[in-house]
Amino acid sequence: MGAYLLRRLLNYLVLTFVGASVAYLLAAIALNPRSNYEGKHPTPPPAVITQMLNEKNLNPDTDVFVRYGHWLDGLAHGNFGTEVQGGSVGQDLARRVGVSTRLLLFATIIGAVGGVLLGAWNAVRQYRASDQISTLVSFLLISTPVFTLAILLKAVAIWINNATGTSFFQFDNEYDVTVTAFWPQLLSRAQHLVLPTISLALGEIAFLSRYQRSTMLDVLGSDFLRTARAKGLTRRQAIYKHGLRTAIIPVMTLLVYTTVLLFTGATFTETIFDWNGMGQWAVTSIQGNDTNAVAAVALFVAALVLIAGFLSEIAYAALDPRVRA
């Protein structure tokens, strides 16, 4: 099995490289960093602009493969290049990954655990009132795009804030920068986390619970569960110790993929709640015609897909003994 995983890893690495390269080449061809300088007042002379662009490997007039070569050369030395504004792409990348992780940590845990439990519970109580209501609400949540949900939540929060006269819900960036003491800052961070976490977790709970419910329904009618009951286990023990573990296997692949790829789905949430994370960077780098930044984001996303695929295979092997050769 080790050799198999190694081969898959090599395959993923090649694919990641190809994916990131295509993204760089497309960005290098389609984006025009020169427009950033031409919009300034007073406009620098063209020769100066060209020199500044050349320094950062952003000149659209250089042959695209020459720029690609420079970018690869930088990557080999761990240097992701320079941004249009002059900062280091690598530093920005590290900082923004941290921001995104802080945003997504609670949302993914709540979403995953909540989704699985809700789905299993609904399957056990199939067609009762709780199942019908959960199904309708899940459908509604799945059908609401993330950005619509986030904007609606923000509107409700503002309304509540105004109605109660307090400012309980905060939604501009991660925390209040004027607060420096440890506990008040922690509280401020928590307040700023509430809304983004809810908007991300709700969608994930709704989505996962549908899948978990259908796999759980399959398991509930199976023979081994009936045997467990015949052996003398209570209904609850049989379902949650034997049934859930089997029902979760197909959902696990989906779960790992969506968890890791939530980084990219948080694009809307980060933009609406003004968190300076990777998702927001994906949008601002394209709007700012910043080729090196776009390439870095693309590389990050491709690497995430690799990690997600790898993790889901390991998880599958861990949960399903039949796969282990």
């Binding site: 295509v22 497309l26 389609a30 509604l140 059908s143 795009p145 609606l152 394209i286 996303v301």
Partner: protein, 328 residues
């Protein structure tokens, strides 16, 4: 009563419950119609289509009309959905946006399934190095950051038709379905009717189109329906940022993006486009779920439903099917 009479009674009862002049298609339609949510979804989609295309004829406002008396006013008798900051009629804009989103979805969904069916079936049936190349191609496309690439490419279709945008959307959404179709093709490849056709000398394309694809019709239909919802979601997400439909063209995504800042102060700028977008996706999801239950009643979740319905006495399934269900 003698045994003969008893059997005759059972036969008559079974025959009476079989649908008259039915075929499989009629049965599927009947199952679909029985599912009230799915029927509701279908009606909503038809109503929205009618509203989107016929609605603009009901008001006298045009897209280029600017009502100088009514900047950013709420819903009223003359402006059913209110007006925007520049005096345009919100109802007209929303209906135009709904047109765009509906058409993009209804074209993009089946297009995605068509690409997936083509790649998946060819890879599965032909096998060999063609299969390996195609599978590797699927993996490469899966790794591509589709959102980023679509966003980068968006200025290039600024002047051209939005049809190009739909094709690009479909080009990044077909991969997972192609994998499923490929594995289904692999199982179908060795069935007797396919082997018979091959030994008779039927060419490969004909075999794929005439034998393999029709046997996975239910999967393809369900996939196309889900594809509609995914395409609408993808398009509205990109348009929200300004990466999809370009101004002055309008779609529900651009309207939501324009109206988001004013949710608490001028709610009609956001609520109507958002409500219609949610309505479209919800209706498509209901229809997709209903289709899945109607086309494949042996799928998970539907088993218990069928047993409950037949226990309640609504047995219009063919007698053979009931036997099969009990045997499961």
């Amino acid at each position: 009563m003698s045994a003969l009479d008893a059997t005759k009674e059972i036969d008559e009862a079974a025959l009476a419950s079989a649908p008259l002049g039915g075929g499989r298609g009629r049965l599927i339609v009947r199952r679909f119609v029985r599912n009230r949510l799915a029927l509701f979804g279908l009606i909503v989609i038809v109503l929205l289509l009618m509203a989107a295309y016929l609605g603009p004829y009901l008001t006298h406002w045009q897209l280029t009309d600017i009502d100088f008396d009514n900047f950013q006013t709420g819903p009223s008798g003359s402006h059913w959905f209110g007006t925007t900051q520049t005096g345009q009629d919100m109802f007209l804009l929303t209906m135009r946006g709904a047109q765009k989103s509906l058409v993009i979805g209804l074209i993009g969904g089946p297009l995605t399934t068509a690409i997936a069916a083509l790649v998946g079936s060819v890879a599965g049936y032909v096998g060999g190095w063609v299969d390996r190349i195609l599978v590797w191609f699927i993996d490469v496309m899966l790794v591509m950051p589709s959102f980023l690439l679509l966003a980068i490419l968006s200025p290039t279709f600024k002047g051209k038709t939005w049809l190009l945008f739909v094709v690009l959307l479909a080009a990044f959404a077909w991969m997972i379905s192609a994998r499923v179709i490929r594995s289904l093709t692999l199982t179908l490849k060795n069935r007797e009717f396919v082997l018979a056709a091959r030994y008779m000398g039927v060419s490969t394309p004909k075999i794929i189109i005439r034998h393999i694809l029709p046997n996975m019709a239910s999967l393809l239909i369900i996939d196309a329906t889900i594809g509609v919802a995914v395409t609408v979601l993808g398009e509205s997400g990109l348009s929200y940022f300004g990466f999809g439909i370009q101004p002055p063209d309008v779609s529900l995504g651009t309207l939501i993006g324009d109206g988001q800042q004013a949710v608490n102060t001028y709610p009609w700028l956001f609520m109507f486009p958002a409500g219609i977008l949610i309505g479209i996706i919800l209706a498509v999801n209901f229809v997709g779920d209903g289709l899945r239950d109607a086309l494949d009643p042996n799928a998970s979740g539907a088993k218990a439903k069928a047993k409950r319905k037949s226990a309640a006495g609504e047995g219009d399934e063919l007698p053979g099917e009931t036997v099969v269900e009990i045997a499961q």
